[in-house]
Point group: C2
Chain length 106, copies 2
DNA sequence: TACACTAGGTTACGAATTGTAAGTTAAAGA
DNA sequence: TCTTTAACTTACAATTCGTAACCTAGTGTA
């Protein structure tokens, strides 16, 4: 009848983090600022989706986009303080995966 | 050229956790065993997807499905030890969301 | 005997999201 | 003028998701 409601901020966090690629993208950027093309190669993600996700995370102020006016132009993406604050979440997932996840070949 | 490869176990963890609904589902079950219909109401998820995700998490041994032979039959889902081990991940997300997430109305 | 009720699903199908591959843009070097 | 490069866009096909209707036992009711 009366459903215990989930905190909207927690829900929003999950919405961001569970959006395909986002967590991996943040994980990748924990190593420091990186260029569009570097991220693309590392994650093996399509440019269409990568651009979309980078914009989403920029809007959420999890990362910052910097234009470096070389030629051709280079764009660097880096985590904001809010973004780096996600490190403990990623650490917890890493811990869990090393404790419990097994890889099965099929 | 040579991309620093991401640990396959970590990748698998992300694959499971980032699959839409899964994290919320696990969060919900941290409160203890729950029936199919209860989960459905709480999360406001469609039965098609709920069934699919419960099967996935059961396959991953994150949760356990128990048939209670009443009439009509009742099914209870509960986290396994592997499932409960995800609590720190959820706690970390909760912490981050309370520290950093703001809700914007649009 | 027939009918309805209930929990936990399945099924069909349209809508939304994702991946793929090709094209765009602007500056500079050949 | 033509080519190259980084960082995107665009068009479109393949997946995945949400919605609503339907299915299946095992009762209880008429």
């Amino acid at each position: 009848m009366d459903q215990k409601k989930i905190c909207p901020r927690f829900e929003k966090a999950l919405k961001i983090l569970n959006h395909r690629w986002n967590t991996l993208l943040i994980y990748q950027l924990l190593d420091g600022p990186q260029r569009y093309s570097t991220i693309k190669k590392q994650l093996n993600i399509s440019s269409r989706v990568l651009t979309e996700r980078l914009k989403e995370l920029e809007t959420e102020e999890i990362l910052l986009r910097t234009v470096i006016p070389t030629t051709p132009v280079v764009i660097e993406y880096e985590l904001t303080e809010k973004g780096y604050a996600l490190a403990p979440v990623l650490k917890a997932i890493e811990q869990w995966s090393s404790d419990w996840v097994t890889i099965t070949k099929d």
